[in-house]
């Protein structure tokens, strides 16, 4: 009877495609929105992931997330360095500065200043130039996304004429000081859609206005064999600063965006909407499909179909619709993920997300087929005698 049940479902093409479309669309909406959300959220701590050398990130205790730079005294670096169990500690400047472009336009940039001596924190992948080029006079690195979109060089004397992405050798001004592009980096997109500029710590402090010439973050490498937890505690008690592991700092940043902004609510609503679409289209159509076929279920019941056989038929129909709809929806989501350029739209399809949409589809299908089963079980077989 399972085959008959499947043929009943597939044979009613209008309803079948409707159910399939509903489930596919719901899955797509839920998974895609969730993936964009995860992608967007993972961008908030991109800098932490881009800087794998650090075992600990030391910050002002009031700092809430990685972009929330709270100034520390310059002496903080020496105080951290004096804690035992540390291999090295490097300063990191992080701040938003306004760059003046060759055509006179202005652009806010996220400036990161890395330790002058070691260059720890400099981007790992360079499309043009070498890491040591950062030591050249007035040198900065820009990243390829910013170069392509916001940091442009006019091709002609006409400032509004055609432009190309800035290259090594091009110049811009940061706070009225000359900066020469010495390299183009490839980095993960950050949450704030502004170009990132890398330079040395001292140069970055020099670019910053006087009141913001401060230390933002300290990267710490523990000596081999150190207990990180104890080192964290030592840094905290001896310096009054807070030390996070990269995972803790990422979570703290994520937590800030999750709890202090409306972003999760927006995406949550889109996901709920996807679920409702599934219920409204697929769930209802499935139920209607059962109602349409109720007289045949009734005839089978009269002819001696057991409740178990009838429930089995509805279950097989629900399962088939669910599996196909979910599969198509996840396929469409993956295709969507492959088709959009990664730097444009944040999209991160982690293995958790299909679980969410699978769960949603299960709820929709269970609801609709449960209701259908109830109808079928309650059927009075005598009704089939009434024409």
């Amino acid at each position: 009877m399972r085959l008959i049940a499947l043929k009943m479902l597939f044979g009613d093409s209008a309803k079948f495609y409707g159910i399939l479309l509903g489930l596919t669309f719901a899955t797509l909406l839920i998974t895609q929105q969730a993936a964009i959300f995860v992608g967007l959220m993972s961008r908030t701590y991109a800098l932490i992931e881009e800087t794998p050398q650090a075992d600990l990130w030391v910050t002002d205790p009031t700092m809430q997330f990685v972009d929330d730079t709270k100034p520390m005294q310059v002496t903080a670096l020496d105080r951290v360095r004096s804690v035992t169990g540390i291999e090295w500690a490097s300063p990191l400047f992080k701040g938003l500065l306004v760059a003046k472009l060759p055509n006179g336009g202005r652009q806010i940039c996220d400036v990161i200043g890395v330790d002058d001596a070691t260059l720890i924190g400099a981007p790992a992948i360079l499309l043009q130039g070498k890491v040591e080029d950062l030591r050249k006079t007035d040198a900065i690195f820009i990243e390829s996304r910013g170069a392509a979109k916001q940091l442009l060089q006019p091709l002609t004397a006409d400032k509004n004429g055609p432009k190309r992405p800035m290259q090594v050798g091009d110049e811009l001004e940061l706070n009225e000081r000359r900066a020469i592009i010495a390299g183009i980096a490839e980095t993960r997109p950050s949450f704030q859609n502004v170009p990132t500029i890398y330079t040395t710590y001292l140069r970055a402090v020099g670019f910053a206005p006087a009141n913001r010439r401060t230390l933002s973050l300290i990267l710490v490498k523990a000596l081999p064999g150190q207990n990180l937890l104890e080192l964290q505690k030592r840094i905290q008690t001896q310096t009054g600063l807070t030390a996070y592991t990269p995972a803790e700092f990422s979570w703290k940043t994520l937590d800030y965006w999750m709890t202090q902004t409306g972003i999760p609510i927006n995406f949550g609503m889109a996901i709920v909407l996807g679920f409702l679409v599934g219920v409204a289209i697929a769930g209802q159509m499935f139920y209607n499909f059962t109602l349409d076929n109720l007289r045949y279920f009734g005839a089978m019941k009269a002819m001696g179909a057991t409740s178990r056989q009838l429930l089995n038929m509805v279950a097989v129909q629900g399962l088939a619709a669910g599996v196909l709809g979910l599969g198509l929806g996840l396929g469409a989501t993956a295709l969507f993920g492959l088709m959009i350029p990664g730097d444009r739209l944040a999209f991160k399809l982690t293995w958790h997300l299909p679980i969410i949409s699978t769960f949603a589809v299960i709820v929709i299908v269970l609801g609709a087929s449960g209701l259908s089963m109830w109808k079928v079980i309650r059927l009075d077989p005598k009704e089939v005698f009434n024409g």
Binding site: I4, M303, G304, A305, V384, F385
Partner: protein, 248 residues
């Protein structure tokens, strides 16, 4: 099964609902029928025909009275056993055919065998053979909707007989069909359905098919008022027609 009565009932009553809303659909039916017979239940609308045939088909429980269907009392069984009883012993022909529209004609015929869990290809083979006997072999793989009403009812007849039931119930089998088609469908039911080990119970309004039955049970207001053999019935009908001047 020989020697047993196909249907035995004494003082069968059926009341729908309770209290103020109670409807007494059957009020004491005494009736027996033997295997090999074709019996028609006739009477005005609402007199209880469908109720009675549903009890004979073991899909409805009586409120009181004694009942034996092929020697057993279906109301003494569990629900599950009653369902199995129907699956093994009862064949159904409905007014509205009730063929599953999304599957082929031959699959529809095989449903009673599928319900018993029989091997699919063997079941389909048997269904095809039976379709040959009802003259629809060439339509075996069509969808039911591609067939005329008469053809659909012939498919339903094949479906009702494929598991060789002891009791065949037909509620208004011809009322969705025109007169001539109805006659042919009834001929087929008589030809294929009548067996020495089977009782055929037929509910109908249609006087033109009375003659297919051996006996006709007239019902009124929840009671069987008289049972006559069909030759007596036909003579009476002719007399009425004669009085009205239809027959000279």
């Amino acid at each position: 099964m020989s020697g047993e009565q196909a249907i035995f009932c004494e003082g069968i009553a059926k009341t729908y609902g309770e209290g103020e809303a109670a409807v007494k659909a059957l009020r004491g039916i005494d009736f027996t029928a033997n295997f090999g017979e074709i019996v028609a239940l006739v009477g005005p609308s609402g007199c209880g025909k469908t109720t009675l045939i549903s009890i004979f088909a073991a899909i409805l429980s009586r409120s009181s009275g004694a009942l034996q269907l092929a020697g057993v009392d279906p109301d003494a069984m569990t629900n599950q056993d009653r369902t199995i009883f129907r699956r093994e012993k009862v064949g159904f022909i409905f007014q509205q055919f009730n063929l599953v529209p999304q599957i082929s004609v031959v699959e529809n015929v095989a449903i009673p065998l599928f319900l018993r869990g029989e091997n699919r290809s063997e079941a389909l083979d048997r269904a095809e053979k039976l379709l040959t006997e009802v003259g629809l072999h060439n339509r075996a793989h069509s969808r039911p909707s591609k067939l005329s009403g008469g053809q659909q009812q012939r498919v339903a007849i094949a479906r009702s007989l494929i598991h060789e039931p002891s009791i065949l119930v037909c509620d208004e089998p011809t009322s969705a069909l025109d007169g001539a088609t109805g006659q042919r469908v009834m001929e087929l039911i008589r030809e294929q359905g009548r067996r020495p080990d089977r009782i055929v119970v037929l509910v109908t309004h249609d006087e033109r098919i009375y003659h297919f039955a051996d006996r006709i049970a007239h019902m009124d207001d929840g009671l069987i008022t008289r049972i006559v053999t069909s030759d007596v019935e036909l003579a009476a009908l002719q007399a009425v027609a004669f009085e009205k001047g239809k027959i000279k």
